[in-house]
């Protein structure tokens, strides 16, 4: 196999802080000691690959993929699309993206979610797709509702969609959240605020993308994702012991 080079080290200051007292659950769940840094090895540079065989025709259509009585999900219909690139701006093709979200009322279909808003019998809340040869992807879904959660006295999550992306290396593994342009709850959210770099948080806010909206059908939002890159130089192979 071609050696694509080691993974570029993560810029930890471009990510959320692990420990943030304003997000209370992070307090007992964040490691106290520094991470052990080391150059990547094949264990991190390889990773699971998923073929088109695992993807069903409705997997990226959350409006229809849980239509138990045949009706589409309730809510504001939206297209969420974008491109997955690496840090060197190379497209990441054929990589699995999974999303999950609350329904239009802000309720998750999960055994542990007991929020007052009703479940939609035709909305499951999960979807998945593979990026195309240019790293592009699309989902059709409904706009998730904001919802309250126990943290400080009166806490509300902004509307958001969870994203899980694999890349081609286990070391590229990423889970993040997409927010919506113009949502006033973003600025009040302690989870969003675990990201201390303002432009990094802004990059999680998907803009309304009217040219991609389909008249009389759905609005569109664009959400691009960047994964860790792999450094390719002519000088990567060091002799043992050097």
């Amino acid at each position: 196999m071609t050696d694509l080079g080691p993974l570029v080290p993560r810029q930890r200051d471009m990510h959320p802080v692990p420990y943030d007292p304003d997000y209370k659950t992070s307090v007992p769940r964040s490691p106290k000691w520094p991470l052990l840094s080391m150059e990547s090895t094949p264990s991190e540079e390889t990773g699971p690959r998923f073929g088109h065989g695992v993807i069903g025709p409705l997997d990226n259509n959350l409006v229809l993929n849980f239509a138990t009585d045949g009706s589409p999900a309730i809510g504001e219909r939206i297209l969420v699309h974008g491109q997955v690139l690496d840090e060197f701006a190379r497209p990441v093709p054929n990589t699995l993206i999974e999303i999950w979200q609350a329904n239009a009322g802000g309720r998750y279909r999960h055994i542990k979610d007991t929020y007052l808003a009703p479940l939609d019998p035709n909305f499951g809340g999960c979807g998945r797709t593979l990026t195309d040869d240019q790293g592009r992807y699309q989902f059709l879904t409904i706009r998730p509702g904001a919802y309250p959660w126990p943290n400080r006295g009166n806490e509300w999550r902004p509307m958001h969609i969870h994203f899980s992306v694999f890349g081609h290396s286990f070391g590229q593994r990423l889970i993040t959240q997409m927010y919506f342009e113009g949502d006033p709850l973003i600025a009040r959210c302690p989870i969003a605020a675990t990201i201390k770099n303002r432009s990094q948080l802004d990059r999680l806010v998907a803009p309304l993308d009217m040219p991609m909206a389909r008249p009389l059908d759905f609005l569109a939002y664009k959400f691009d994702i960047v994964l860790r890159g792999r450094r390719q130089t002519m000088f990567e192979n060091r002799l043992e012991g050097l």
Binding site: L7, Q11, R12, H15, P16, P18, T25, S26, V27, P28, R29, S30, P31, K32, W33, L36, S37, M38, E39, S40, T41, P42, S43, T46, P48, F50, G56, D59, F66, L85, D86, E87, F88, A89, E98, W100, R109, H110, I111, K112, D113, G124, C126, R128, H162, S164, F170, G171, R173, L174, I175, T176, I191, R203, L204, V226, R238, L239, E240, G241
Partner: protein, 199 residues
């Protein structure tokens, strides 16, 4: 002004939240029928070569409480040290598994084959290990760590050798509890905190 670099910055992580299972293990969340089956149910198929092993453990927070909502992914080579897709790799080993801490006990269980050794970039051999990635509510950036094995020779492993506090090395080594059975607890914080990796 110097020339402009056109590199991009990695997208910031966010916590997977309490309902991470909806997207990753829908059946755990109580969602059936969207996909034929969850992804990564097992890293091996019948006929996988090598010693079958079971690793159990918990993900424990800084107060000593086992998480009931943790999602764990594992990635490993086959028993000869080849990753899926590499020439000669065991076709019965996908190497990828996804599993959740039990919602009542917090226990997780991984059944797989013991991985073979894989060299580092220097050519130096690493001791057999399984890579782990942990996501949960309260974990803002997914945590990487590794499982090594008590009954393997770990003395020359380059990653373990970099751990300055030698008393912490044992946090990455699964304890043998029986034939083919191991215990590996992950401590997020506090006494015996697991060594997590920036790799």
């Amino acid at each position: 002004m110097p020339q402009h670099l056109s590199n991009l910055t990695e997208t910031a992580s966010q916590t997977g939240g309490p309902y991470v299972h909806i997207g990753c293990i829908p059946s755990f969340a109580g969602i059936e029928g969207v996909y034929p089956q969850d992804l990564g149910l097992s890293p091996i198929q019948p006929g996988a070569l090598g010693q079958q092993i079971t690793i159990t453990g918990q993900v424990i927070d800084g107060t000593g409480w086992a998480l009931r909502d943790a999602l764990i992914e594992s990635w490993q080579p086959d028993s000869a040290g080849r990753f899926a897709g590499q020439p000669g790799a065991d076709p019965a080993v996908s190497g990828f598994c996804r599993f959740a801490a039990d919602k009542d006990s917090g226990e997780f269980c991984l059944t797989t084959v013991k991985p073979g050794a894989v060299p580092a970039r220097t050519g130096q051999m690493q001791a057999p290990h399984i890579s782990l990635w942990i996501a949960a509510r309260g974990i803002n950036v997914g945590l990487h760590t590794r499982i090594y094995f008590e009954d393997e020779d770990n003395s020359a492993d380059p990653l373990l050798a970099r751990i300055e506090q030698r008393n912490r090395v044992s946090t990455l080594i699964a304890r043998k509890t029986g034939e083919g059975a191991y215990r590996f607890d992950i401590r997020l914080q506090g006494e015996g905190e697991t060594v997590f990796l920036d790799i």
